[in-house]
Every structure is written in structure tokens, then in C-alpha cells.
Amino acid sequence: MRPGTPSPELRTVSPWSSEDSFNGLNTQSATTGEVGGQPPPPYRARSLGAVDTQAVRDRPVFRHTSDHRGWIQSTTSASRPQDVRHPRTILSNRSDPRRDVEGQHALDNRATEAEDANAEDHISEERRKQLFMDRSVGKRGEWDWLEDRRDNDPRYHPATEESHRDMVEMLERLDAQLATLLSQWSVTTTLLALVIVAVVAYPIIYPSDPDTHPLLLARQTSAAPIRNKGSSAAYRSPEVPYGTQLRSGLNVRDVGAPRWASGKDGDIRDIWREVTRGGSSGEDGKPIPTGLIMTILGRDEVVEHKVEDLTREILVIGRHLSEAGVKRVALYLPNSVEYLLTAFACAFYGMSPVLLPYNQPHVKVYELINSTGADALICAAGNLPLDDAAEACKNLKLLTWVVEKTSRHMDWNGVPDSADDHLKVSVWHDVVAEQKGTGATDLPTNDQCPPLAPIISVWQPVDPDIQPTITTFTHQNIVAATAALITTIPLRQRLTPADLILPADGFTHTYILCQTFAALFTHASLAISSVAGPGVDLATASRSISPTIIIASAETMASLHAKETAALTSMTGKLGKYTHSQAMSAGRMPTDSLVFRLLAPSSSSAGNTPGKLRLILTSERLGAKTPFLTSTMLSDLRLFTRARICYALTTAAVAGAVAQSNVFDYRTEAGDGRSPFGAPISSVEVTLTNEDERALEGVMPRGQVVVRGPGVSGGETRLVGVRGQMGGDGTLRIFDV
């Protein structure tokens, strides 16, 4: 017997004695036979009366053996109920050298205890071995179910291990803190939560797409697959790729011709014929819209012209000019309807209009008249002194004054004596009024018209002392440029009959003239303002109308930019500009939300709603020493005017433009150079030449710019004073040399 064990006499009986569980190692089926003793008494519920605790404590502890002996009284140290401990609660017993101190699994305790128990029970050695083998195999004994129940019952596991305890404690602490945090939920919290949800959900519910696909802006020109040595490939608009013909005309079909017939190129006469078709019903029965032609007089007055009256005026003036026997008609007028009527009259009657730059010193004008060989002059009344003009320009046969309404009471018919024999002076409104009743209003057909004469344009730099470039354009040049300028703008933004177009620059510049012809050809409404000129203020030019499209000069845009940047001082204004720049760099045109309209009202005065300004077409005149627009300036101008801006590259020898930037291209580049000009328009193709072959290899060649096509006077021209480079995205960039 081991020390500490009570004498065999002090055995207590208990069916619940845990010591029996030590003998869970009795895995073979045990016989519950009668023991060398009584079967354990049945369990009785506790009585509510006083309990004899000592008697309870002194109950004998029984344990069950799995062999024939059954229940026997325990003789181990745990002989009393209170001494019996669960195997897992038994900590290491240092007195026993067989036991490990740390990390000892309770089962090992059980094993040793069981062995002790078995030893005291006089279990034979082979029996013990058998028990051990069975246990290691995992054979379940008769009473293992009881053990499993006990293992899973939490009441028998008074305390968890240390680490479990810590984690549970931490979680409970966290839970308590979270509960206090959320317990302070108030109205403000609800508001904040709603605001956060709104900020997160708004871009999901209202996603905004860029105006055009960014990959379309990544390659804007189509390059030819073949090039000659010393020059790059020919770069063209994607509308007219390599292998197709460049756009050479307006594709006009005769009235009776079937729909599928290919049209002819046409000329300027066809533009006015198209204008006269407005109001009648077209081939498919739908009425052709009429475009209004109006003149802005002074501050408030807007005069609308009827197309039949204008047609009659064209015929009258044309007859008047051709009867005088003139071949070249010089035009020294501000923007006015008479300007356009003269151009059309010259087209119908086989004369050449000479487009003189306005607001030049008189001497310069006389020089130009003489050098171009003009023999008729149509001039705004009082702009040129009659005597000096008659003296300086001996070739003039006819001088027609265009008198504004306020000055019509004066007599403009006087002729200076020195020029009496060869010079005839007439007054526009008198000529028109004389032949008012007579004369047909039908335009002559092309067979009845004399052969076409070219249009002569004078390209004058800003400094009047510099010699101008005089270019002769055929009708095909002008008409090809007009058609190309119509189709350069994608369909969504193109000129429509619902637009009101204001040319805010002189008609002398072929870009403005071709855009005006484009407006007339597409039946858009046209507003002509006489104050329009190279440096005009946009607000002044668009005083009493609300144009949707403005054709402005680069000087106008540069001064507008300077003015608006100086005026942008408030923080809200700057924040508004910043937010709008974000929208633009994402490829969208910024919209004017209510908040920004309140905080930073649009200070731009151009274009008053309704039918608000949507597009500004501006051009860079190469060689004219005008200020150019950088990429950041264009981006800022888009924000100031809330309109899209197209920047076109124009030069003296090319009708219309060489290249025009994409209307949806809002990308900004840093730098002080000119903003990239986008793709060439479809009436020209651009090639870059360079002596150095290495500059031409690759996809970004650079060199001198050569322009070819039906829009170029003489078929081919070279841009002087600048070098060009084709950007990686297919946009033409120009640098001063």
C-alpha cells in the first residue's frame, strides 16, 4: 500500500465516485456482476432536510472494475468524495519521478493513476498489458460514453486554461467599449452616417462617362504605311485614310438626280443655291430648314434679312459690277452682309473678289489695291477718302460705297474731277433700290454663268509694315475647305439648323469665310456683326444675341483669358475652377451645378442663355505674329466660357485650316508652346520633311511641314518659319524655329 492511503477499512461507497473514471482504462466490456460486495446503492435525490455532511463525506468511494469483480471499494488516496479530483485538474505531482512537470497531458496522469489503481487491485501483469494495448488501439470500453458526457458538460470543467481566459476577457472588454461607443448614437450621428452613405453612393448611382473614348484621342490621325526617303508618312484625318481621296468638295447633287448618284464638287454658287432651298421641301418630302441671316446693328438692333431679298441683291450687284466691265473686285468692308453678297455675286458673274484686310492705314490699302490689280472697290462709306483713293488707284473703274442707314441722307455720289473719266461712283443701296422691281430672283444655272474666277486673299500680319502674302484660291480650294470644316467636327457637335453662329473675326481670313459658308450650307442661322475683327471683345461682339457657336480670333481668346484670370480672386471661384478642372481631366465637360452657380457666378459675358454657347472655333494664323494659345490657356478658357474650344492651325496658302483640334479633347499639357492642333482636316494631308533620316524614323517624326491636297492653293505648300512634330497621339505640334 502506498503511503497516505487510508486503511482498507475506511472505504466509502459512492456510485458517483470519480475515481471510477480513472478506470476508464477498463476498456473491455466489464461485467457488472455482483461484486465481492453489494451493488452500489441507487441514487437518491437529496432531501430538503439537514444533511449529515460528515456522513456524506465519510461515504466510501467505490470504483468500477472492468473484470469480473465489478464495483469495488477504492483504496487509493482519493477515498473520500472530496478528495476525488478530476484527472484534468490534477496538476503535476512532483513526488513522482515518472511524471513530467510541464505540459503533461491529463491522460498520462490517468494512466499512472490507473496503473496504481490496477496495482492495488492486484491486476495481473498480462492483464495490465492487455488493458494498455486496448487503450492504445482505441477500443472503447463499456463506460466510455459516460466519460464523453462528462467531458462535454461544462459543469464538470470549472475553469478554462489561461490563454482562453485572456482572450475571452479581451473580447468582452472590446464588446463593452463598442457598446458604449454606439450607445452615444444621436441625431448628429445619423446625419453624418447619411452624408457618408451619400458620398459613397453618389458616384455609383450617377456615374459619368467621358465625352469621348480616351482611345479615340490616343490616335487621332491615320498615317500612310509607306513613306519616301527624306519625308515622313502622309498624315491624314481618319475620315480619309490612305488609299482614299481627300475631300475635294461639297458633294452637290443636281435637283432631279437620284439619291445614289455621286455628287459633284460644287463651288461657291452652290452654297447660295443651298441657302435658297431653305424652306422648300426636300427630296424625301421633309422640309428643308431655313437659316436666318441677321445683322447686329449697334447695341440693340438686330435686323433679319430675307433670303429672297438677298438673292435679288446678289443679282443686282452682280449685274452692276459686270456691266461696269470689272474683273477684280476689291472688298474693303467690315463684316457685313454686303461682304458676303459681293462674294456670291462675283461667283455668279465670273469676277474675282479681292479680300482686303480691314482697319489698315490708307496708304497700305492703296498699295494692296494696286498690287492685286483690282479694278473695282467696294468700301464702307467714309472709310477711305475719295480723292486720295481715286488718285492712288488709277486702275479703279468702279467705286461702290456701302452706306449705313444713319448716313444715307448724305450724297455719296460725288466723283473727284481728276478721276471723272474712268472712275464711276455708285452707292449700294441706291443700286439695289433702282432695280428693286425689275430683275428675276432666280439664280442663273451654271451654264448661264460666265466661267469661274479665283478668289484672291490677302494675308496681313498684325504689324502693317510687314509685307502681306497674297494668295489666289480657286473655288475648289474654298469649297473643299468648307466641306472639310463641316465634317471635322463629329456629328454630335456639328453645325445644325438650330445653331446661331457669330463670326467674331473678319471675313478676310479664309478660315472665318469658310466657316461662314459652312454655316450657310448647313442652314444654320448666321449673325453678322460689324464690330467683328481680330481683337474684338467677345461681349461686345455678342451684345444682343445669344450665339451657340462663336468663331473668334486668337487675340480675342488671349485677352479674354487674361481678363478672366485677373478677375478670378475669390476662394470659392478658385475652388470651383479646381473642381471643374478635375472633371475636364476626367474627360467630361464640367456642368454648372446649383452650388457653383451661387458661389461663383459665371463671369464670362459671352453667350447669354437661352441656347447657350456650346462651341468656340478659334484659329492660329501662322506668320501673322498673333499671340498663340497654350494648352493650359485653352483649358482655362473652356472653364471660363463653359464651351468647347477647337483650335485650328491656319496659314496663308491653305484655304480654311491645316489642322483642327478635336472638339472633345480636353487634355492639358504643360508648356508655353502652342497647344497641339489635332488631326489635319480632310481636305489636306500633312507630311514632315527632314534632311536627317533619324528624325523621321519612328512614330513621332519632326521636320518641316508640307501640306498637300485640294484645299491648298497650288496643290502643295510648305509652312515657313516653323517646325512641326507629330505627337504620339497623332496630334500636330508646331514650334517656332
Binding site: 458604449t180 461607443l181 452615444q184 448628429t188 490616343a218 478635375q582 481631366s585 476626367a586 524614323e697 512614330v699
Partner: protein, 175 residues
Amino acid sequence: MDDRSSTIVPAAGVASIASPINLVLLSLFLVLVYMRLRPAKPIAATLLTAPPPTVFRVFTPPQLLPYDGNKGMPVYLAVRGNVFDVSPGRNFYGPGGPYEIFAGRDASRGLACGSFDREMLTENVEGPLDKLEDLGGDEMEALRGWEERFNEKYLVVGKLVPVGHAEVEADEVKA
């Protein structure tokens, strides 16, 4: 902890507005607003660059010979002085194709006569070009048809001139 927080209630309004949860939500709101308003890096949309354009050059028959599709060279053939880049039709004109005899050669006579015999090709590449004088109307008609088809389908990348011609370009030195 709960007792402590309930005892500290000096100004109920201020405490309730500046409560920890409000501060947490406010900071979350500020972070979200910053993320919305910060300048977005623009997505630089780049397309694969197209291959650089071919340079138009003047070929002599020996210079044209290497362009027969072997060793990774493009497939060229010449018809009446125009050199066509028929690499898109490599299955036909390249090595292993039915018309491979014409690759790198003057194919005018062969196409006119509709024959793949070796006699159709000019034997002496150093000599003058085949003038096609002895071909009849039918053959010239066929040749015109071939030329039209080539002009529609393939790119003209050069001109074929005999050796010793004025426009001959010197052979490029391979680096």
C-alpha cells in the same frame, strides 16, 4: 465604465455632438471627401504603336532577291516595275506557297502567261529587265488583271530598275 461616462455630462449638447462616434464618422467623412476631391491621375491611354512606315526604295533584281520570305524577310514581288509587299499573302507567295517561285523576283511574265515554269523568271539578274515584248494581247490582258488585283490588295513599296540604272540606290550596310 458606463457609470463614469454617465457622470460626465457637463453640457449635454456639446458632448453629444462631439461624442466619439461622431468624431469617428466625421473623420471618415473627411477621408472620403479628400479621396473624392484629390487630383486623379489621368489614365494615359496608350495604344500599341503601329509599325513604322516602310520606306519606298528603288530595287535592282539582285537587291530584290533576298525578299523571298525566308529568314524572316518580308515577301516582295515585282510586276511591271512596281514592287509589291505581298507579306499579307505569305501563304500564297511565301515559302511553301503555290506562288513561291515569284517571291523576290520579277513576276510579270509568269503572271501574264499563267505559268510557274522557271523559264518565266529572268535568269540573269544582273542583266536588263524582261521587256515582255513577245507577249500577245491575251497575256497582256491577264497581266493587267493581275496588276489591278495587286494594286487593290497590296502596298507598292518600291520600283524595280535594272542594274546600272541611274536611280539605283547603294546597298544598305547591315549594322
